[in-house]
């Protein structure tokens, strides 16, 4: 012992500790390279385009630097300033409505003994399968000038804030519902037992146990809805009428007036509230994690006939609305001429006779969505794997993770406009990508990166963190373990991610509306253009084509997960 004590004392006294650097193994080099590539991809496809918008907003039409002059013009023009207020109002009101309805719906799914929960769960996801243009088109059929329920509005017009709020609420509903279902499902039954033993009434229990445990979910749902609403382009474009919002204003400035500088200013203004909402949401989510303890006992609701019946009624009404909106669009797509000739026809599906690129657009969309699903899933998993499993290089890992979280905060219109500026820069060697299928795929991957990345990270986190250590000790290269263990175990999550990418690539309008070329028109953009041209029934038909496709993919996914996958995942059974 004395010898060691002396050595230790010497070490402190005069041997300045030299820093130990482990030689990098080949594996580690591969990890670092992947990390670097993903980081470079995110910087190039996201940070640089955003920078292009910011710098463009400080230039005049000729490209000369004018400082904040464009912003001064923007805020000095009452009409433009009003647009920002409109957006904030619509986003706040819609998010409030959506969160309220979604909370009740989620409560019914998780905390009551209402029957047909499975059915209501599936129905609630319907809006995700459609582009946001669809509810707007359906609302025109229902409440528009020829609408069959026009009288219900007591003379108010559906073209404007009312239409936007209803349409966007339909479309955002499932997103808020998913967050709130998780928040309400993950509560601790023992808190309720404690409340009961202490003789708290049901109202007091709700206020002191249910609401507090769901409050982070509520805040998160609100801000996610807010971000989705303020960033949405499809609904206000179709049904906004004279009521202008930021996302549409960018389009008008850029496509209508070719005023790129003002477009960039509006884009920056749109970016601000989205980023603020995003930051608050991230902050809240971090708190939510700390709230859940692993030892919580899941809450199991007990039957209460009156409550269950009331919630069944509420969910039925919601389901009728959700299915009704989809149903009207489907019905309208098969009708000769609303509302005068209601006979059945397939003419509306003869897209080649209309503007918008015809059936070619649909097949382009399928192609784009497939590429996005395949390439996006590969990039996302490689990135998540590098972020999760690289030892050391903490700074690089957290920067890549941050870059992966960022797309959530960037509205599609802003991202798309950034690409316009960046890829049209004179001398940009990547300029050849503009108007190609590749840029559509890349922009869609980046736009929907965050949720995919989180799904992949969650799946990887469920693996034992020591798999890589074990392989290292057994002298098995990490890539071998990745292909033999990590990937097979994560197959279900990888499928989830690819389906998410596919469906969103089919439905998205925002980013791609600036990027498609004459040969790369897309189905969702065709819906927009046909609606613009007044061909509303074919627009509904194309929107329904997207829905049919999404449903097919979801069904395939379900079948694969239930059937084929069960064989390769035999080890999951005990």
């Amino acid at each position: 012992m004395t010898v060691e004590a002396v050595t230790a004392a010497e070490g402190i006294a005069w041997a300045r500790p030299a820093s130990v650097r482990q030689r990098l193994a080949t594996d580690a080099r591969v990890f670092v390279a992947v990390l670097g590539m993903i980081g470079a991809f995110m910087v190039l496809m996201q940070v640089v385009p955003l920078w292009a918008i910011l710098s463009r907003s400080l230039q005049d039409a000729t490209g000369a630097f004018v400082g904040l002059a464009n912003y001064a013009t923007y805020f000095a023009t009452p009409a433009l300033f009003q647009v920002a207020l409109n957006s904030l109002t619509i986003a706040t009101v819609s998010a409030g409505i959506v969160v309220t309805l979604a909370f009740l719906y989620a409560y019914a799914l998780t905390r009551t003994c209402m029957p047909f929960k499975g059915f209501f769960r599936v129905v609630s996801l319907v809006p995700i399968l459609a582009p946001s243009l669809l509810p707007a088109i359906a609302l025109i059929y229902i409440f528009g000038n020829q609408g069959f329920l026009r009288d219900w509005l007591f003379g108010a017009s559906i073209y404007g804030p009312i239409g936007i709020v209803i349409g966007i609420s339909f479309w955002v509903f499932p997103h808020a519902l998913m967050i709130l279902t998780v928040a309400l499902a993950s509560s601790d039954a023992r808190l309720y037992e404690a409340a009961r033993v202490l003789r708290a009434g049901s109202v007091r229990t709700f206020l002191t146990v249910t609401l507090p445990s769901a409050r982070y979910g509520l805040v998160s749902a609100f801000f996610v809805s807010f971000t989705l609403v303020i960033a949405d382009f499809g609904v206000p474009k179709v049904i906004g009428g004279q009521f202008n919002v930021l996302a549409v204003e960018i389009y008008k400035q850029v496509v209508g007036r070719h005023d790129f500088s003002m477009g960039a200013v509006v884009g920056t203004v749109l970016l601000l509230p989205a980023v603020v909402a995003f930051v608050i949401d991230r902050f809240v989510q971090r708190r939510q994690v700390a709230l859940l303890s692993a030892r919580a006992v899941p809450y199991v609701p007990k039957p209460a006939p009156v409550r269950d019946a009331l919630f069944l009624l509420f969910c039925t009404v919601m389901a009728v609305i959700l299915l009704g909106i989809l149903g009207v669009a489907a019905y309208a797509s098969f009708i000769q001429f609303w509302p005068y000739n209601l006979s059945f026809t397939l003419d509306n599906y003869r897209f080649d006779l209309m503007d918008g690129g015809g059936w070619r657009s649909y097949w382009n969309s399928i192609q784009m969505a497939s590429w996005t699903a395949v390439i996006g899933t590969a990039i996302v998993f490689l990135g998540a794997y590098a972020v999760e499993k690289t030892r050391r290089f903490r700074a690089a890992r957290s920067s890549v993770h941050f870059l992966a979280m960022l797309p959530m905060a960037v509205p599609g219109m802003v991202l798309g406009l950034g690409y316009v500026f960046f890829f049209n820069l004179p001398g940009n060697p990547l300029g050849f990508l503009y108007h190609t299928m590749a840029i559509l795929v890349l922009s869609t991957i980046v736009h929907y990166y965050t949720v995919s990345h989180l799904t992949a990270v969650t799946a990887l986190k469920q693996l034992d963190p020591e798999f890589e250590s074990v392989s290292a000790s057994l002298k098995v290269p990490a890539y071998r373990t990745f292909f033999r263990v990590t990937l097979p175990v994560c197959t279900p999550a990888a499928l989830d991610v690819s389906v998410y990418f596919f469906v969103n690539a089919m439905t998205t309008v925002a980013a791609v509306v600036f990027l498609y070329g004459p040969n790369t028109t897309l189905a969702s953009v065709a819906v927009l253009n046909m609606d613009d041209a007044g061909d509303i029934a074919p627009a509904a038909a194309m929107a329904m084509m997207i829905v049919y496709t999404s449903i097919t993919v979801k069904l395939l996914h379900w079948l694969v997960t239930r059937g084929g996958l069960a064989r390769t995942q035999a080890w999951r059974r005990r």
Binding site: A8, S19, R21, Q22, L24, S469, K475, P488, R572
Partner: protein, 365 residues
């Protein structure tokens, strides 16, 4: 020396996980790192494996400096607390996972897997998946997988703490027997002193990133070198006292203790901590005859299954609580009840002295 660690230091932010730790491990030895959680024992193991990079210091294996080697280039097998079995591979494939490349043609590989399955007693389970096995069986698969390539060093990171008490005890014997048969140098991290004492050839007691004592299980148990080790291993009573420097101790005003010079050599004059294990104390109704016999009051009696534990306070020192172990027949003979006044005997040869500033003096649990 088979493995030498010299002056290893590792910081996580401001906390020092390893503070200039030096240690030698001989070939074929079974060494246990023992200490409370956060003492640096797992960090030390991971530094030896190369899974953690220490800030300064040197590690040599068979005389070769491996400080800068990544784990892939070092020679060891490892078993984790979670086992880290690959869930989608069969037991056979898990065990054979490290048997790749030119050294392991198919036939030899199959042979080796079969051999390892036999060694850990899992013949016939080859085609099952990890989730179909019990915890103890999974543990054995992890052991077989780590040993299959024939590493010269086996690292075990709390390998038994996820198991039931019964299974744990059986696997303790099995791992020890296996280690002895294969002669593989083994380092095991544990916070369970019973595990360390029953399995190790040498125990390394750690706390706060430092090594407190290295020695055989018997050494660290009966000759702890400081109050921390005395307290951490086994159960120990602590008495604050004043040493006169000539083999006599004073406790409070009235107590005058004799200390055996052989077991507590030359305690300097001044405040000291006197340690004595519960099983070395005795209670009687014989009156105050003999060496170190003092009046004490019974505070409570606990039943511990194989024995009873009495908590007593020396008379006049009400805030000092001493635990005394009593065999059932002793208890029958004595029939102590709370508040009884009995005689407490402190055998001089069982008393150990440390310079003062010992851990908490009264630790009645």
């Amino acid at each position: 020396m088979f493995l030498e660690a010299l002056d290893l230091t590792k910081r996580f932010g401001t906390t020092i996980a390893l503070d200039a730790v030096s240690l030698d491990v001989a070939e074929g030895e079974f060494v246990c790192f023992l200490g409370p959680s956060g003492c640096g024992k797992t960090t030390l193991l991971r530094c030896i494996a190369g899974l953690e990079t220490h800030d300064s210091g040197t590690i040599r294996q068979r005389g070769q400096d491996i400080t800068h080697q990544p784990p892939e280039a070092r020679d060891f097998g490892i078993v984790f607390q979670s086992y880290a079995l690959f869930p989608n591979l069969s037991i056979e494939k898990n065990v054979g996972y490290g048997l790749n490349g030119r050294d392991w043609p198919r036939a030899r590989r199959r042979e080796r897997v079969a051999e390892m399955m036999a060694v850990v007693g899992l013949e016939g389970q080859e085609h099952k998946y990890p989730s179909q096995l019990s915890g103890g069986q999974q543990q054995r698969v992890a052991l077989a997988r780590a040993l299959a390539p024939g590493p010269s060093l086996l690292l075990l990171d709390e390998p038994l703490s996820a198991l039931d008490a019964k299974v744990r005890e059986r696997l303790r014997r099995e791992i020890k027997g296996l280690q002895r048969r294969l002669g593989v140098t083994t380092i095991m991290v544990t916070h369970d002193q019973e595990e360390a004492l029953s399995m190790a050839d040498r125990v390394v007691v750690m706390s706060d990133g430092r090594i407190e004592q290295v020695g055989s299980p018997a050494e660290v148990y009966s000759h702890p070198c400081n109050p921390f080790v005395a307290d951490f291993i086994g159960t120990m009573n602590f008495l604050p006292a004043e040493s006169s420097g000539n083999g006599r101790l004073r406790l409070g005003d009235a107590w005058d203790l004799t200390v055996d010079a052989g077991t507590a050599p030359a305690a300097p004059a001044g405040p000291v901590t006197c340690c004595v294990r519960p099983q070395h104390l005795a209670l009687s109704r014989n009156g105050l005859s003999g060496v170190n016999a003092f009046p004490a009051r019974v505070r409570s009696i606990e039943y511990l299954g194989s024995m009873y534990r009495a908590v007593v306070s020396p008379e006049g020192l009400d805030d000092v609580l001493l635990r005394v172990d009593l065999a059932p027949e002793q208890l029958m003979a004595l029939t102590p009840a709370p508040d009884d006044r009995l005689t407490l005997h402190l055998p001089p040869e069982s008393l150990r002295l440390f310079a003062a500033s010992a851990p908490a003096l009264t630790r009645a649990e």
